[in-house]
């Protein structure tokens, strides 16, 4: 686990929570309970959202940030109700726009830790444009994308992540749209931090939340989430204890990519392939691809993202990519600081008067 100080900037490179206040020295540690609002949780019994909420609430105290400096912005969807259950500042906004609202908020307030909660429909369908633009700009926010591969709140239409052929209320003969792979899409949109996890794996989710919080800029976390009502068992293969051991490829920076008796090697056509280790012979380990989450080039991360299909034979989870690039909101503020400095300090009332007057005046009377 990381021991980075998420708040201070001793190195010149801004850590994740640079500018966000810490709890006063000696103040009592916050707990999950402090992050639990009084609102009744209104998800269906068995919904994967519960586990994510619980993991998130349990994690938040780790930030060491006063509750009041945390803001959770969401769109519309079952998942997007989460802010009501979190005892922090929160906005349940409109469908698809959470990332854009968070962009405005993050740029305005460097002292806030900004979280976005969204669904596969909210983020990738109606909100797809704001998502890819937030990612390329690298705005300080962590996006929790609850991917249940269905529109839950509107009662079960297919979403942009539903598998092709899926039969739903709006696709009685099966869908014909190929789904997005959210990790590939984010990488194509210049993501600096992308991770994937599963609702039921609390340890992994927590570790990813921790790494995302340490990241400066936009962190996208795709969370495979079960919707027992409209898309039950979408991730069953990954949840069964035996199956999942074989299918989940747990990415760890600097480690070979493998899962049980299988590992990932380079393929002839420029991509990656999962093979049985036996096949590789005695030096199997050494021929496996070693994960490099910090590579400047996103190509390896992209290639890893392609392993997910077909049929979840090998699904990488963990952090695909985590690289450092200046965050949009920091740069916006920096430009202002530079402009202010260049002018010898913050604009005064007189500066404003001079601006209004301009250079081309005349006087009457």
């Amino acid at each position: 686990m990381s021991t980075t100080n998420l708040h201070l900037d001793p190195t010149g490179r801004r850590p994740g929570l640079f500018g966000v206040p810490t709890l006063p020295e000696g103040s009592p540690k916050l707990t999950k309970k402090d992050f639990t609002s009084t609102a009744e949780v209104r998800w269906c019994p068995g919904c994967g959202d519960y586990a994510i909420l619980a993991a998130f609430q349990s994690f938040l105290p780790e930030l060491g940030v006063p509750r009041d400096n945390i803001v959770c912005v969401s769109g519309i969807g079952c998942s997007s109700r989460l802010p009501y259950y979190l005892d922090t500042y929160g906005m349940h906004s409109i469908h698809g726009r959470a990332t854009a609202i968070a962009t405005g908020l993050a740029t305005t307030r460097p002292d806030l830790s900004v979280w976005v909660v969204t669904g596969d429909g909210d983020a990738l369908s109606i909100g797809g444009n704001h998502l890819i633009h937030a990612i390329r700009r690298n705005v300080n926010m962590t996006i929790l994308l609850f991917n249940n591969r269905i529109y839950g709140l509107t009662k079960g239409q297919y979403s942009p992540t539903s598998e092709q052929g899926k039969i739903t209320k709006s696709s009685p003969m099966g869908t014909v749209d190929l789904p997005f792979n959210p990790v590939s899409l984010a990488l194509g949109a210049e993501a600096t931090f992308v991770a994937r996890t599963v609702d039921s794996d609390r340890a992994l989710l927590t570790s990813i939340l921790r790494q995302a919080a340490a990241h400066r800029g936009t962190a996208l976390i795709e969370i495979y989430q079960n919707c027992p009502i409209f898309n039950n068992g979408a991730y069953e293969l990954l949840k069964d204890r035996d199956e999942s051991a074989a299918r989940l490829l747990r990415l760890e920076h600097g480690k070979p990519v493998r899962s049980g008796s299988r590992g990932v090697v380079r393929d002839g056509d420029g991509g990656l392939r999962i093979v049985d280790l036996d096949e590789l012979g005695p030096d199997a380990e050494s021929r496996l691809v070693v994960h490099d989450a910090h590579a400047a080039d996103p190509s390896l991360a992209f290639a890893l993202s392609r392993l997910e299909s077909p049929e979840m034979a090998g699904v990488p989870v963990g952090v695909f990519r985590s690289v450092s690039r200046p965050a949009y909101d920091d740069l916006v503020r920096d430009q202002i600081a530079v402009a202010v400095d260049a002018a010898g300090g913050p604009a005064t009332r007189d500066d404003l008067a001079a601006l209004l007057a301009g250079n081309d005046t005349w006087t009457v009377g």
């Binding site: 609002s37 609102a39 006063p66 509750r67 009041d68 400096n69 945390i70 803001v71 912005v73 519309i76 802010p83 009501y84 922090t88 500042y89 929160g90 906005m91 349940h92 906004s93 409109i94 726009r97 854009a100 609202i101 968070a102 962009t103 405005g104 908020l105 993050a106 740029t107 305005t108 307030r109 002292d111 806030l112 444009n129 704001h130 633009h133 916006v332 503020r333 202002i336 530079v338 402009a339 202010v340 260049a342 002018a343 913050p346 604009a347 009332r349 500066d351 404003l352 008067a353 601006l355 209004l356 007057a357 301009g358 250079n359 081309d360 005046t361 005349w362 006087t363 009457v364 009377g365």
Partner: protein, 621 residues
Amino acid sequence: MSSKTVERVDHVVIRFAGDSGDGMQLTGDRFTAQSAAQGNDLATLPNYPAEIRAPQGTIAGVSSFQVQFADHDVNTPGDAPDVLVAMNPAALAASVSDLPRGAIVIADSDEFTPRNLTKAGYTGDPLDDGSLDSYQVYAFPMTSLTVEALSSFALTKKEAVRAKNMFALGVVSWLYSTPTEPTESFIRTKFGRKPEIMNANLAALEAGWSYGETAEIFAVSYEVAPAATPAGTYRNITGNMATAYGLLAGAHRTGLPLVLGSYPITPASDILHHLSELKRFGVKTLQVEDEIAGITTAIGASYGGAMGVTTTSGPGLALKTEAMGLAVMLELPLVIVNVQRGGPSTGLPTKTEQADLLQALYGRNGEAPIPVLAARSPNDCFDAAVEAIRIATTYRTPVLLLTDGYLANGSEPWRIPDLDSLPDMPVEFASGPNAVDADGKPVFRPYLRDPETLARPWAIPGVPGLAHRIGGLEKADVTGMVSYDPDNHDRMIRLRQAKVERIPVPDLEVDDPTGTAETLVIGWGSTYGPISTGAQEARRDGVEVAHAHLRHLNPLPANAGDVLRRYRRVLVPEMNLGQLTVLLRSRYLVDAVGFNRVRGLPFTSTEIAEAITKFAQEGTL
């Protein structure tokens, strides 16, 4: 100094017209600055094609700039040019029907080549064929005169030719005795880093002036005395710049940082451009992916405690409507500036219109009341923007400010305000509990309203103890929790409505010199100039008419009904099919009659005067 006669005139209307590449907007702008500097009152009308470069030499490619300057108060750029500067045949062809008999035409004869004449649709040469006999035509080879004057500079021919607009400006400056110093210093600043170009432009300007003075072609020159304007320091300003500055000044008075979320769109982009120059003032401009992101980033900024603003034009406003509903529900301050242009759809992007009023008032799902105001002149954009911010912050509401393409690009002298004269409008964020719960424990109620303004507290993230959740679902009164309760919904709908309706706005003033008029002409927005001038003209013709002009469209002034009912006849000129008319008729049940022209151009004062006269006399149009 020549000894030619100098004639005093009280006002002049000049139109500079040429190809899009001829720099006519700059020329017009500079002449305006010169005339302003000598103390004339003035108003301008830039007019250019929607294409970046429409085909050279064609009528579609003509760009023009009209200015009226006078020794008295003027509110319009004038109906018909006294002087047309035509840099090519197309410019002449595009304008000639607007010229009154006897108007002066100054033409660059170099450009009247057979090829250009054909492109402009001429079969003969109008400079020769007598078709301009009712005008005073001064044609001379401006291009070659310019090239010649610059022969000593190390310039390409193309570069030299490009300075011909300064030559033309020099000629006109001489003809109207306007000082060229403001232009000279402008050239020095603009081309400071390219001395050769700078000197060439100065030389061309000077050559034009000398040509006027020495070439013996003009019988007389003219002079327009300064206008008797109120004492103060003045500058010339366009509506878009005034809007930008008003937003900044308003935010300054509230103590809030200004954050703009915007997407470029004609004719609103200049507000984004101006504000993006103001980083020094802490202004953050986010040019985002689309109009929806423009308004939602602004909402995010307001939520964070900044003054969130978004700027756009018609089609962009249409895209923002869903998020405007969110802002209504959140009850956060927000200013939306809509610079109206010709519609529907993409319509006429560079033309003016005022057909977004009903969209502004009603274009949202559900009952989503928003205060709406409209600026009446380029410099009024400043005050209107300040007022928009005042209302937004005081009442915690989105506010829609309407300007239009004519105001946006038009300019007029502006008396620079003393900052202290602006309304004082400090903002207080919520800082602690504002209620007690059933057990007497202090609690924070995010939708507990100020009894006077009905504003809810503005509790920004980061304030200890006030954490709360807001959103687009219906809110429970006081607590702000999500509520599906039928009575609560009805109550909240009415509270949001009442909050807007109760905003005190100044009474409607009526300009009714005799006090006995039976006809009222009422307008809103940028028609102020033509209507007030048109009313004066009608009065000069003996027609008694009163004029009132609305700045606040929602809520309407408390006395508006009384005013309207005082008159037997009510005429409503609008650059749309009768949108204010809908509002006034439904609100006050007065038989207001619309005078509607939707031509992408401001009304002329003459057509207003004629309409008033006919309507006052016959009761119909």
